[in-house]
């Protein structure tokens, strides 16, 4: 009997007009399975069926057959399936139940009624497996995004699941964090756990995967033999327009949140027509630098100069922006508030959102939401664009659209600064890479070296 067996599975969300899953036939028995597909194709929905969150938590209409570890998902509550199915969500910030690392890892074991001695052993093992033993006494609130994601995995691994389901686990991780998480995942799979991973940064998972599945239109098909297609960089660094005028400048800037310096004595500038990529490990100060350039965080020392004009700022959490009833009105709101010329249609088209223009942004998948948030901040020709992890949860098509939008900003004499872990975006869009670490910035050229 396969570990996971779906037959003619279909599912429709409450009040949705169309099926999110439309006749899924799937049998998986062992190893690591990579699930790819465009934003909104149904990947997260399929994953949620694996542990019964769909239909038990979300409601809706489900049909066909879904069996996981010989249990009927449609008839078994999530909390029962959780004994054998571990689930790691996309957003690590919202998964922690307890405020300290050790306690949070133990949460699932407490629920299972595991004796304390056994619990201590399992917590230690899970922390070690995920490479976060040194964090065991830390408060969850002090962890970086990457550390939190590994904590979420540790909390699930401690329960020793037979099936592990991960939804975009690498979307916020730096290369080091990604490698550590994939290492832990690989160790779990070697230990006999079956894993199903949905991930847009599929090239990172593919080399360790036993199979690859493509999700499109609510259906699953095997990937092409050579895996998902890697997009070619849309814009080479040599094509970048030469900088002619200063757009922003930091002079001897020391900055950090709550008066604690994260960046020290920074001298950095960007010109018009430039797209600067800020890279560096989680917690290296990328967001701090963006907020300082934006004027949202006053520097603790030094000064910041900006060319007059509108600044577009995308925070890490796209939901921070979304408050209108439709995608179109969300973009219109920015145009109206900034007294900018132009119409929402052009931006909808550019970001590939025309088909969902009249939908509530919060009903969309996380990748689509990210695109709506981008469209909302980029509307109205800003002169300086500051984007914090703009490709989080984005598929290749959306990344290409973003690259084109950034090129348009640069061609019109604007400039952009991106804080990102996404090497494909850096390769496609950036004219210069600034690597942050230990509170200082290192400007790296040529671009190819930085991407490598």
């Amino acid at each position: 009997m396969p570990t996971l067996s779906f037959a003619r599975l279909h599912y429709t969300y409450p009040e949705a007009a169309s099926r999110a899953l439309d006749g899924v036939d799937l049998e998986i028995d062992f190893g690591l399975t990579l699930l790819t597909g465009a934003s909104g194709s149904g990947k997260s929905t399929l994953l949620r069926v694996c542990n019964g969150l769909i239909p038990h938590f979300h409601g809706g209409v489900i049909g066909g057959s879904a069996r996981v570890l010989d249990r009927d998902v449609i008839r078994t509550p999530t909390r029962e399936l959780a004994r054998d199915v571990g689930f790691v969500f996309q957003d690590p910030e919202l998964q922690a139940v307890y405020p300290s690392v050790e306690r949070d890892v133990a949460f699932g074991l407490e629920n299972l009624g595991v004796a304390r001695g056994e619990m201590l052993r399992r917590v230690g093992d899970a922390l070690e497996m995920c490479g976060i033993v040194h964090l065991r006494s830390r408060a969850v609130g002090t962890l970086s995004g990457g550390e939190r994601q590994r904590l979420a995995l540790a909390g699930v691994l401690a329960m020793r699941p037979r099936l592990l389901v991960l939804d975009e686990p690498l979307s916020q991780l730096d290369p080091e964090g990604s490698a550590a998480l994939l290492g832990a995942l690989h160790a779990a799979v070697q230990g006999g756990t079956m894993a199903l991973v949905a991930e847009h940064r599929h090239h990172l998972v593919l080399e360790r995967a036993d199979r690859c599945l493509l999700m499109a239109g609510g259906r699953v098909t095997p990937c092409a033999p050579d895996g998902p297609v890697q997009p070619a960089p849309a814009r080479a660094s040599q094509d970048a327009p030469a900088s002619s005028e200063l757009s922003w400048r930091l002079h001897q800037v020391t900055a950090g949140p709550a008066g604690v310096a994260v960046l020290h004595d920074l001298d950095l500038a960007g010109g018009t027509g430039e797209v600067v990529a800020l890279t560096g490990a989680n917690g290296s100060g990328k967001t701090t630098l963006l907020r300082t350039i934006a004027g949202l965080l006053p520097p603790l020392a030094g000064s910041v100069e900006r060319r007059p004009g509108r600044i577009a700022y995308l925070p890490q959490n796209p939901s921070a922006l979304l408050h209108r009833a439709t995608v179109r009105t969300e973009i219109d709101w920015t145009l109206r508030r900034t007294h900018a010329a132009g119409r929402a249609d052009a931006m909808l088209e550019e970001m590939g959102l025309a088909a969902v223009a009249e939908r509530d942004p919060r009903d969309l998948s996380s990748g689509q939401r990210q695109r709506v948030a981008l469209a909302a901040v980029l509307a109205g020709d800003p002169s300086l664009v500051l984007l914090d992890e703009p490709t989080r949860g984005m598929d290749d098509a959306a990344r290409t659209a973003l690259t084109a939008a950034l090129a348009r900003v640069a061609e019109r004499g604007g400039s952009a600064v991106l804080a990102t872990h996404d090497p494909q975006l850096v390769a496609a869009a950036a004219t210069r890479v600034v690597d942050l670490g230990d509170g200082v910035a290192r400007v790296r050229r040529p671009l190819v070296e930085a991407v490598r």
Binding site: T78, P99, N111, Y313
Partner: protein, 274 residues
């Protein structure tokens, strides 16, 4: 110090503060609670905000009593009788009674404050008896959402400002309030999903951390229980008289045994200062 013995101490202080109108005993409870907070309060636990809130609550109680109770012999000032509710004489007796009321509120709140300012929220949850363990875990998780919601509110305000939002009139606020509320709801839903996905509610819960009960906890609990039991007995037998300043202001009567009962609440902080 065990959270359970702290809970016994808090309950004792609360009962004493609420069972008497005598400001002297209330002051003793208040001082014992302040002493405990100073001795054992966690850094960064929000004590300053709480103390400010308690001060404001006490002040409001005092003002309301002064303005609304127009009895007493010693008139401080007369407000025009035409003013609804507060018009009439404001008396020294009403002011004194208001202060005593404010003191009672402050003493009661401070008595329970150590539960959150000395203990961690999850310690409090762990201290709950087994039948309440599930509810406690849900409560702990909900408490854990608060800092995140505050952070997201600040982030949302910043992000909307960059899109041209300015808080000029009431109609501008939905641009910030709607995402804050929706993000908080979504955060709660995701947390609920995460808890369900980690077998929350499957079976009887066990606990990772053990609430250790030391002889010192027995001392704290026994002295607190002796204090409250003795005080209630004295109140019931007229040995710990209350206080009522009307119609003319008088000094509150003080009973030494009742004072000693209240003073037993100082035990938890003695060890730290020692």
């Amino acid at each position: 110090m065990s959270t359970r013995s702290l809970a016994v101490w808090s309950a004792s202080g609360l009962v004493i503060a609420l069972s008497t109108s005598n400001p002297v005993y209330r002051v003793v409870v208040l001082l014992c609670a302040l002493n405990l907070l100073l001795a054992r309060g966690r850094r960064g636990s929000g004590a300053r905000i709480l103390l400010t809130g308690i001060g404001i609550a006490g002040l409001i109680a005092t003002l309301l009593t002064l303005l609304l109770s127009h009895t007493g012999r010693h008139v401080l000032v007369r407000l025009p009788a035409g003013i609804p509710a507060i018009g009439g004489p404001l008396t020294l007796e009403a002011l004194a009674f208001g202060l005593a009321t404010g003191l009672g509120i402050a003493a009661a709140l401070l008595a329970v404050a150590p539960l959150t300012l000395v203990s961690q929220p999850h310690e409090l949850v762990d201290a709950l008896p087994s039948p309440l363990a599930r509810t406690g875990a849900a409560l702990g998780a909900a408490l854990n959402l608060i800092p995140g919601t505050l952070r997201s509110a600040a982030e949302i305000r910043e992000a909307q400002r960059m899109r041209g939002w300015r808080a000029r009139r009431v109609a501008d606020w939905p641009a910030v309030a709607v995402p804050v509320v929706l993000t908080a709801i979504e955060g709660s839903m995701t947390l609920a999903e995460a808890m369900e996905s980690r077998a929350y509610g499957t079976s009887a819960r066990t606990h990772f951390s053990i609430q250790r009960w030391a002889p010192y906890d027995t001392l704290v609990s026994v002295t607190a229980l002796l204090g409250v039991a003795g005080f209630l007995a004295l109140v019931a037998t007229g040995g710990a008289p209350g206080w009522f300043p009307f119609p003319a202001l008088s000094a509150p009567a003080i009973s030494v045994p009742a004072l000693l009962c209240c003073a037993l609440l100082v035990v938890p902080s003695l060890r730290v200062w020692h």
